[in-house]
Each structure stands twice: as C-alpha cells, then as structure tokens.
Symmetry: C2
Subunit: 402 residues, 2 copies
C-alpha cells in the first residue's frame, strides 16, 4: 500500500472566532493512490490522530492506527480502491498546530491559542486537500466527534462530498454529555499544575487530565459492557493503587478491576495527550450544533446532494441511536438518499472502534454502492430487520436485564 505522511503548512489561518495565527501546520497521513475521484477523508475522534491505520504492523490505542481494522488493503475502506486521507485537527497535539505548539515567539501557545471549532477543523482539512490536489471527495467518513466533523463538511462544502458516513455521532451533544465534559475540563483547570495553561516548562496537570480521561472512558462504555468486562470483581494481586494518593481506610476495601482499568487507561493517556488540547477539543465538540445559523438540521443540510449513511449503536449513550434517527428524519424530509443503519451492540460508544465486523460491511458497501449497498440497512425501509423496541431504546443496559 502506498502511504504518505507529513505536515503541510497551509499558511496564515483565520479561526471562526476571528483570531488568526501566522501559520497553521496540518499533519496528515494518506493511504492508497489518488486517481482523481477516489479520495476518502476520514475524520478522527476527540483524542485520535491522523494515524488511522498501521503500516502493516498491529499497533494499538486510540491515537495509533485507531481504525486499522477498517482502513487498509482489502479492508472495509479498501486502500486498493480508495485514496484515504486523515488529518490531525487544529488544537490537537499530534503534529497539527495547537496549544502545545510553538507560537511566533518560539514559546508554546498555551491558552493564547485561539479557541477552535469543528468548523475550523473542516476548513483546515479543505486547505490540506487543496495542497494535496484533491477537490471533490468520494466520501467523508467520521466517528464520534469525527462524525460531527463529517456533518460539517456536508453543510459547509456540500458540493465537495459525494458520500457522507457519520458513525456514532449526532448533530449536537445532549446536556448530559455537556455536563460531563464540563466536569472533565474543570478537573483539568483546578489541577494546580495546569497553571492557567502555562505548564510546558514544568509538570503538566496529569491528575486533572487523568480524571478527565476516566470520565471519558465511562462515557465510551455501557452498563452491559462494564458488567461483562469488570463486574464487581477485585483486581488481581499485582494491581496496585499507585497512580494517586489514598488513605488507610481505603485499604479495607477491594481495589476493583474497573478502577484498575480506569487507572491504567488514565496513566497511558496522560503520557500521550496534552491537557490544553483536551480543553480545546472538548469545547469544539460541545459547541458544535449542526443547526446553528439554520432553521433546523434539515435546513442546514438542504444544499447537500450526496448520499448519507448514519451508523449508530444501540448501547451507545454518548451518541444515541435516537440522535442518528433524528438526523435521518431530517434528510428524509429533504428526500435525500439516506440510510440509518442501527448496529445492535452493548459495547457502548466504543462499538465503532471495537466491533469492526459490524461496522465494516455497511461502510464498505456504502462507499461502493451508496445507500443501496447490500449490507446497508435503514430503519425506515426495513423495519422488520430492526432490533425490537427494547434493544433500540437508548441503553444503559442493566446488569439485571431480563
């Protein structure tokens, strides 16, 4: 597979907020060969990176080769057929300019970096694709907040997108998720090591960032997946409460598998992610609202004439099946070709990453044949193939479900 990676300086960049920076680097990777009409832009999730697929080896984690099961030669997004591009978003910390990047004076921007929006991500991706010689895209595909990024493409550059695949996403976050994100940010900013965002020559706010990440993890799982993965079990002997302070009374109670898992995930995360980027990117996600400046979602997408696949997961309470169905209804209102493909899964939001066998086929057939693709199902067209009402309901499945 032909691959390419690099960083393109797209020049001075005007942010939606009105501020600008003298130059914006955009880090990207591409897989496969461009034939003039086969470009697929993949948009990454909150803490993801441009490294959407591995170069043959099996890497793990959300920033490294995060969709390796989906993107590659012979895989659902087949790099033998498609030229796949993924770019790290502005405000992130994987090579594209963000708070941790040096500003004009050579010091890290820190919180002098302008606030970013999902719209800024889309505009930066457009500039990158211009540099790469890509005009119209065969498809834009994104999961989670990357799905919002994809939606923004269809609204902002409707003529540039032939196929839109929005995976485990929504037109906007609901207030429960807004609340949890605000609490996560507060965990970072109340960590004294955050120091107003100016910590790059000292200790970073790892305690706050760890808390934020642990909250995120709970949002990505479901009651059912947590019951299956952890139950109420104590962690193994080797597991230690090491990553944060504790007190003598705590030792009377088991250190549970679920705590050990969250502590381990948090420890790994703080090594790879920048706390200011976490603030910036969650704000962009929280702020995103497809209908902003329009009557409603349908109005926002009225100019888009491509085909749309919405993929949602029954156990996902971060981005629910109902939110995807609402988007589907908006597109149906417009008589736009749309399929809302509901995947029965109790994996929670994580399903889009951990169940490639369910995500791959509809995605593959949608890229090849649009909404009429063989493995693409739609809530409206084939009601008999839908999971029953209960499974379709937004799930915090109970450990005691009957």
């Amino acid at each position: 597979m032909k691959t390419d990676s690099g960083t393109v300086d797209v020049g001075a960049f005007d942010f939606e907020c009105g501020a600008d920076i003298p130059s914006l680097d955009v880090a990207y990777e591409s897989y496969g060969e461009f034939d003039g009409s086969n470009a697929v832009l993949v948009c990454h999730a909150l803490t993801g990176s441009q490294n959407v697929a591995g170069y043959g080896e099996n890497t793990a984690g959300q920033a490294r080769a995060w969709w390796n099961d989906i993107v590659g030669a012979g895989k659902a997004i087949d790099t033998n057929d498609y030229y796949v591009v993924c770019a790290n978003v502005p405000g992130s910390c994987y090579g594209t300019t963000g708070p941790a990047s040096p500003g004009p004076d050579g010091d890290p921007y820190g919180t002098d970096f302008p606030p970013v929006t999902v719209g800024d991500w889309t505009r930066a991706q457009r500039l990158l694709l211009d540099e790469l010689g890509v005009g119209r895209l065969h498809a834009v595909v994104g999961g989670s907040v990357g799905g919002m990024n994809a939606l923004d493409w269809a609204q902002r550059y409707p003529d540039d997108v032939r196929h839109l695949a929005v995976v485990a996403a929504a037109g906007r976050l609901d207030p429960q998720c807004l609340a949890l994100d605000a609490i996560a940010r507060r965990a970072i900013t109340t960590d004294p090591d955050w120091n107003g965002g100016d910590y790059y020559d000292g200790d970073p706010p790892t305690d706050g960032l760890a808390l934020a990440r642990q909250l995120g993890h709970v949002m990505y799982l479901s009651k059912a997946s947590m019951e299956r993965k952890f139950g109420r079990r104590a962690a193994g002997r080797d597991a230690q409460r090491e990553s944060f302070p504790t007190d003598p009374a705590a030792a009377y109670f088991p250190y549970r598998d679920v705590e050990s898992y969250l502590d381990y995930q948090a420890e790994k995360f703080v090594e790879r992610f920048d706390a200011n980027s976490y603030l910036y990117l969650t704000r962009a996600m929280d702020d995103y609202d497809l209908a902003e400046g329009y009557e409603d979602d349908a109005d926002a997408l009225a100019a888009f004439e491509g085909e749309t696949l919405l993929l949602s997961f029954t156990g996902d309470w971060h981005f629910t099946t109902e939110q995807s169905e609402s988007l589907a209804e908006s597109l149906r209102e417009l008589d736009a070709p749309v399929a809302h493909h509901v995947v029965e899964s109790d994996h929670g939001h994580d399903a889009f990453l951990v169940e490639p066998e369910k995500v791959g086929p509809p995605l593959r057939d949608f890229l090849d044949d649009g909404v009429d693709g063989r493995a693409v199902h739609d809530t409206e067209e084939e009601p008999e193939s839908l999971p029953d009402d209960r499974d379709f309901a937004p799930v915090h499945s109970s450990l005691f479900s009957r």
Copy 2:
C-alpha cells in the same frame, strides 16, 4: 407534632472492619409519639442527614428536611400515626461521629477514622433504637443508599422489621456506578488540599469535593430531565464562571445553564459536607452487597418474614428498575410478600425526592396495609398496569426520543 432531636452516645463501637472507637455519638431526630409498635426508621441517602422533615417551615436541600413532602402530620409517612426516627450514619458529618469529629486526643479523626460499612450504619441505628426504647420496628424505609441500609436491616435483624420499603435502591451498585464513585473519590484525593485527609486546620479540598458532587448530580438526573431543565441553553447574563479557574479561550464559548447549575450546586455542597465523609460514605455504598456471605439475594433475605415494598423509577440509571425487579424476584422465590412498584418518571434517581406525589401514595398504603395497600402496585400481579416496555427499560432517555 411532637419532635425530638439529640445525640446519643452509644458507647464504644466495634466496626465491621475490626477497628473500634471509644465512643460513638449518634445524632437523630424523631417525629410523632411512640406507642410501642408504631416506630418507623427512615434511612437517609449518601449526603443526607437525620433532618428528614422540617418543623413546619419549608427548608430545602438534601441535608435539611430532605423528605419534608413525605414525612409529617397528614403526609404519606404520617407522624400522627407513626413514630418516625432518622439517624445520621457513622462516618457522616451531621452530628454522628465521623472523620471530622474529634478523636480521643481532641483532634479530628481524619482518615484515622475506621472504614465504615452499611452494616455499621445498621448496627449503630440498632443501638440508638435500644436507647430510645424501640425494639421491633413497624417499618424501615430508605431511599438510594438508604435503601441498601434498609435491606441490611431485613438481612441483619430480620425479626425486628415488619415492613421493609426500599426506594430507588438495589442489592449492590453496578460497575458503571462503581467507576463514577471511584473517579469522584480520586478527584478528592488528588486535590492537594486534601493532604492525606488532614485538612481540618487548613483549607479543605473544595475543588475535589466540588467535582465529586458534580459527578454525583449527573448520576441523579437523567438525559430527559437534563434536556428539560437545561437543554443546551447559555446561562443568564448574571451567571459567571467564578468558582474555578478558566482561560481566555473558554470565554468564546457560552457558559451553559447546565454548567451554571452544577457549579452552583457544587458551591453549596462544599459548604455543607466534609470531603473525608464523602470518601467514607461512597466506599460504604460501593462495598455493600446484599448477597455477600450468602448464596444469593434470596438466601440473604431468607430469614426475613415481613412484607417488602420496592419502589423504582423508570428514568433512574443510578439504581435501575431492573435491579429492583431482581430483588423482587428473589423475594418471590421465597414466597415472601413483596410488591415492586414501578413509578414512571423521567426525573432520574432524583425522582424519589422530587416526585412525592408519586412516591407518597404507595408508601402510605404500604405502611398501613402492606403489599395489599390500595395504591401499591406490583410488576407481577398487574402487568397490564405497567408502563410499556420502552418506558420500563433503563433509561438514558434521549432528547430526540420519538
């Protein structure tokens, strides 16, 4: 209404963990007159207090007169008929001995206070009732972790309880709630002001405790109630981000109603609650498992011959209807008189506090007439009166529910 409040020193107290303290004060309130067989013990929730009802005035908040709509003269738990007792649990901070109380050396115990369990709460309540001259109880009633406390009564002192009312509770927490509680504790212990629990002569860890409380609040609400209360609205002009540090980029984005609400709640909470108590009491809740030491829940309750009312709420994802139904099934296995009364509500866990009009009638009739009480419904006996499947499912109701 005759009321009484005070603190009883029940003497040296041996905790379940094996540690002891030389004297345990138990703070309590009582309402109504004891006639020898009309005592109702009410068990408070995590951050509640013995002040279950007001003395006529309308006070607010979870620690002050927290069930004033349910307990009082002419109310569901009618203090004209019943002698109602509520005691603050060991480890709390409303008068019963806990980490903030002075130890034998005159200094606050801090984290030298022994770890407490729900069983310790029950045993302390038993000692208090002995002092008050109350032997067998007409009823034990508890909500949330107070419902676990009530369950523990039926398991530990089966002959002392004629009626058991378990409201919005479960035999044990599920791993999702265990995870959120662990994150909340980590927020406290990573606050430098926590200082290993030794902060009573300095600044308390208000940042950490505020985060813990905000997480709790999200657990008490539901997607639907948050959508109705806050939506994605910006807070009013007067609302300010004042309670925690922020950065210039944050100002570009709205300070939302939901954030303002959580910040306000957290500010109020840190004034009234002790951070160490929060650690101790959440550990007790997390640790509680009705079946521990038994084959299963039915085995744990086998010796209990009283009647049981389980009240659960369809929108509650902290303690789900399925968890209550599982308890009901265990009691049915034992041929014990039980009613599982499901309240249709999208208020989340908070429903047991904020929907007295739905909680009161079944509680009142259960206290008077047991499971055959007029307003008491049961999932098994009257399936046609149940909400439909979808409403019955554990809800994170979507803002887009159709």
